[in-house]
Symmetry: C2
Subunit: 297 residues, 2 copies
């Protein structure tokens, strides 16, 4: 069995187990309000590469975290991610009709339902995480991590900076700050939730994982920008070329295509370097850094 | 000093202390993203009767809860309440331009900002609560209570049922279920967060407070419907007569005005009865039940 095959099998098994966890942690579509619950499940289930859950489980391997705790952390970050997509796609934000190859929630249902789906998914994420079976002090720290990554110092803050920058010429530093919050914060939370599912982190461990998370977070966005500029909608499962059409600043628009690709490769190297202290236990985190940079969609 | 005066002074002092707590627990408007942070503060500060924070503090008196823990519970429920108003007022929901006598957030700022303000306020509520200074297991239980009250089994679920019932003839039971989730769940959470700020509740205490909370929650909505049908916009600080104009089912449309008023009075009586086991410690909770039924706005 080659290493690549092995990683692929690991991914498939985590993705399947996360799909099961999400299905069980989402409200039953037969329970009132049925339309809301059906739409919540539509927004979350059967879609996406589950990059954040994969990071949770990969980081969990560092400290042999129990699968049940990891499943809650993974489901919680994925619910936050899914809610942000539902709200982002709404007409007052990106006004996107296609997501993960399916009609977006406000198209499939209606705008009011999309708004509530996002709101209820955020609550559900905190419920799922707060019910994790570990020492209360550790679970509480995980709740704080998820909250900070989601709110105005994290994902929502990054989206606000994004809104404010449409049509502006951003510096590379400003673009990096935006993405560090908009997508980086939740990717970082995924890594930290996985690690904290195993044990409380000391300062050195936290620092090493922060460095890793920061590198893959930026790499993720650089590659997103490269793909938006080069791939087609069918491959992406969402509308390609949106950034240029919306006049949004991107790594490609600032650095150009080749320099963006080189930056992604440099960040992949940085991510690997940060994991050195963890030795072989960090294998899945290394492979995920490679996946993030080398993905085609 | 009359009892009424005493209650008024207590309310004013709690309202002032909650305003200070909210101001300190909200992100600084000078911190990036400044527009989002300014809008979050606009949505929360300097407005409303703070009924939910008053309930938190009143319930806290049952078990001599520390003021610092109560301040976090109160700020958290008020942030959830404020976010729900911001999202409710958006064009895809109630499309309201006036709230607490001020332009609504999407009017004062824009729709995308209003969406993010609500999203970020929800995260902030969980951050504020998760940082409460009490035993982790108790704080975690409070986080669960807030999550359940906010999500699809609580407030968001009630709003979804509300959406689904516009234009329908609802039974009294269906109307009650909608309101039990839409407004009742967060009022109940306020009472329970206040009590849990003092100590873990036993089953009998939880049951008594549930009965109280259910009664005032329904009373709150019945009185809201009566006021919407009888008061003017200037007194309410929001657009009056909206329910009839939107063809929404209300207690007044189902029961009529006089029977609605009698129901509110009955619920006030039920709330008082439920508090009997707590004796004089429940004085503020009794007074709040009176306030909720007898308010004019």
């Amino acid at each position: 069995m080659t290493a690549a095959h092995d990683f692929g099998a690991w991914m498939k098994s985590i993705q399947a187990s996360v799909e099961g966890a999400l299905a069980s942690f989402l409200p039953d579509a037969a329970v009132v309000p049925t339309r809301l619950h059906e739409a919540m499940r539509y927004a979350v289930l059967d879609g996406g590469k589950r990059v954040r859950p994969l990071l949770v489980f990969a980081a969990g391997e560092l400290f042999d975290a129990p699968a049940a705790t990891l499943a809650r952390g993974a489901a919680a970050v994925e619910m936050i991610h899914a809610y942000s997509l539902v709200h982002d796609d709404m007409p007052c934000m990106d006004d996107d009709a296609l997501r993960r190859g399916k009609p977006t929630v406000h198209v499939q249902y209606d705008e009011a339902t999309a708004l509530l789906v996002g709101d209820a998914l955020q609550s559900q994420a905190f419920i799922v995480l707060a019910n994790a079976d570990a020492e209360p002090a550790r679970v509480l720290q995980m709740v704080r991590l998820l909250g900070e990554a989601s709110g105005s110092a994290g994902m929502c803050g990054g989206q606000a900076i994004d809104l404010d920058s449409v049509g502006l010429k951003l510096s590379l530093e400003a673009l990096e700050q935006m993405h560090r919050l908009k997508t980086g914060a939740l990717l970082r939370a995924s890594v930290l939730l996985g690690a904290w599912s195993g044990k409380p982190l000391d300062a050195a461990e936290q620092q090493a994982l922060d460095t890793y998370a920061r590198a893959i977070g930026l790499a993720f966005q650089v590659v997103d920008d490269v793909l938006d500029a080069t791939a087609d909608s069918a491959t992406l499962g969402k509308t390609a070329g949106k950034d240029a059409a919306d006049n949004k600043p991107t790594y490609v628009s600032i650095l150009g295509l080749e320099a963006s690709r080189a930056l992604a490769e440099q960040l992949r190297h940085d991510a690997h370097a940060a994991l050195a202290p963890f030795g072989d236990k960090a294998r899945r985190l290394r492979e995920l850094a490679d996946l993030i940079v080398q993905r085609q969609a």
